[in-house]
Every structure is written in structure tokens, then in C-alpha cells.
Amino acid sequence: MTWISEWLKEIIFVVLIAVFIELLLPNRSMERYVRFVVSLLILLTILSPIIRLFSGDTEQKLATALADNINGLEGYSTNESTALILKQGEELKKKQEVESLQWAGEEAARQMKEQIQREIGQPIERVAVKLVTKSTDEGKTQGNFGSKQTELLISSVEVFIGQSMTVQDPKSSKEGISGSEITIQSVEEVTINVDLQQDVPMIKDKGEKGDKTAMVSTEDTPLIDDETSVLTQGKDEATVERIRELLYKEWGVSKETITVMKRENQEN
């Protein structure tokens, strides 16, 4: 039923506008012509449901036909539409970039996880990698659109180590992860922050298992180091050092900015 009210509203307003315009007209000699065109418009409005029934894209056609007329007289609407298309393209590009960044981050996290697991022999709960793009200087000097040179940087790596850093044999640690044995689970977080420029937009990559509560991101490196030294035993520190070493070797993440965090909390 709404379309009837829409339709009636349209008719009423077109007639109103037509009457108004006719009042504005300068004098008699043009009036017949103006009245003719305006009456055609009113007819079109009245017929619009039927027209829509028979050919869907009439409004578009009319718009383009009239826009062609407008262009012939003024020529502004093509510029407008070109700008619109360019804007849409730019948005699409940004979206694609974000998607590919996310994908790359996930992939890198997966590989890191495998590597660390292989190296250390302990289950890793998850690895989260944040990637950012840094636009280089030449990109700024070049044109506005397209050809912007970007450089991929790993902004931070968070490694969440599963249970049992202190448990010696790997079998029991696996059991701890699977949860068949009642053990106190400790989650160790290794956060690796690479220093960044402030103006670079950060793209946050969700970890594989989506554990939001366990994510702790801090900028303050030495404080966390202290905390780590307080909280970790010697063995843990050795493991952490190995992880750092591995990440440095394999991924080129500089070691000074690697932050190791350990939180001992109980997980159910």
C-alpha cells in the first residue's frame, strides 16, 4: 500500500511545482510551450507505475537523456561522475589493501606458529601478527591516485604460549592443552613491538583463535621486561630467549624491540 501513497505524493508535488513555475513565468508567449512540457512531466509521473511495470530502467534512461542535454548546455555532470568513479575506485583499493594485509598477517602468524612449535617443541596457543603499510617518501611525491609505493612492516608479534613451561616432558604438556588432565594453565604472552611512525594507520590482525581477552598490548618495553623477570623462572626465560632468537633469525624482527610478557593466570 505504501507505493500508492508514494505515487500520490509524487503527483501532488509535481503539480504543485508546475503551478509555482507557471506563476514565475515572464509572460504569455512562452506559456504554451512551458505548459506543454510541464504537462508531459505530470503525465509521466501519473504513468510512472505502469512505466515501471513495463520497463524498469526508465528513470535511469530519462536521467541520462536529460543529463546529455544538460551536458550540451553546461557540461559539468561528467566531471562529477568521473570524480565519483575515481572515489569509488580509491575506496575499493583501500578495502583490498586491508584484506590483503589481514591475509598476509594471518599467513605470517601461521608460519611463525609452526616454526616456534618445531623449534621449541611446546604447543603454542596462538600467534597474532600485526602488519602495517608504510608509504614511502616517493609515494608522496608522486601523484595522488594509484602508484603509491608502500612497504610492509611487522608492527608487533604476539606469541601466546600454551600451558606448562615448567613441565619437563612434552607428553604431559600436550595433555595439559587438551585439557584431559587437571593442571593449572599458565598463559605466557610474548609481545614483540617494532617501533613505528605515528601517522601510519594500524591494521589489527585478529589471531587465529580470536582470544581477545588474552591480548595485552603495551608500549612500555622495559617495564614489561621487569615483570617478566619477576614472573618467569629461568627455564621460561631461556625459552623466551629462544623464541626471540628464532623470530629474529627467521623474520628479521629486531630484538631490542621484542617485548616478552608473561602473565600467570589460571584458565579453566
Partner: protein, 129 residues
């Protein structure tokens, strides 16, 4: 107040033209044309306000903007053609004035062509072939 201004300007121009017409008819024409332009300038702001209101109305009621644009274009063509034709007619060139009017009419008709074609198309589809 504006009305008084405009009427005063018109009276002034008319008297000036009456005085000057015997000696220099060309200046009389110039005064007439410039008076017309000045009065039109007075009105342009008001017309802009009216058009703005109409646009808001059309937007709120969901009428397609292309209709309103077409109507406004028609009225602009009519105004400008009238204006030019009258000035030329005042100068005594009746034939040129009528050509200007013809041009205005043709341009208005050109605007009507897409609408007519769509209506005719629909009617042809409605009728059995």
C-alpha cells in the same frame, strides 16, 4: 521597500529615456537595457531562495530531482529568451526579437523530447502489436 526601489528605478529610467530619446536614441536603448539588467539582478537572490525551497520540497517528497531540474531549466530558458527578445524589440528590431523567441521555444521543445519518447514507448508497449 525593495518594491519601491525597483519602481523608483524604473520611473527614473523611463523619464531619462523620454528626455534623451530625441537627441541620442542609442543612449536611450542602453539605459533601457541596463535598467532591465539591474532589476533582474535585484530579483536573482529572491529567485534563488524560491528555487532552494522547491528543491527541499522535492527532496523531502521523493520526487526525482531530474523532474525539478527539467522544470527549472525550462523556466530559465523562458526567462532569458523573454529578456533578450524584449530588449531587442525595444530597440525596434522586431524580426530579431521573434527569432530569439523561436530559439527559446525550440530549446524548450528539445528538453521535452526524452519525456515524449518515454511516454510514446510506454504507450506502444501497452498496445498489443
Amino acid at each position: 521597500m525593495e518594491m519601491i526601489q525597483i519602481v523608483g528605478l524604473g520611473l527614473l529610467a523611463t523619464i531619462l529615456i523620454l528626455v534623451i530619446k530625441e537627441q541620442k536614441p542609442i543612449f536611450a536603448f542602453l539605459i533601457a537595457a541596463s535598467t532591465g539588467i539591474i532589476i533582474f539582478m535585484f530579483l536573482i537572490g529572491k529567485i534563488g531562495g524560491i528555487i532552494e525551497v522547491l528543491e527541499q520540497l522535492a527532496e523531502s517528497s521523493g520526487v526525482q530531482m531530474i523532474y525539478l531540474k527539467t522544470i527549472l531549466k525550462i523556466i530559465g530558458i523562458a526567462y532569458i529568451a523573454e529578456f533578450g527578445a524584449q530588449i531587442v524589440r525595444d530597440a525596434g528590431q522586431e524580426s530579431i526579437a521573434s527569432k530569439i523567441e523561436l530559439a527559446g521555444k525550440v530549446l524548450i521543445m528539445v528538453l521535452a523530447i526524452p519525456i515524449i519518447s518515454i511516454i510514446i514507448e510506454t504507450v506502444m508497449k501497452l498496445l498489443p502489436a
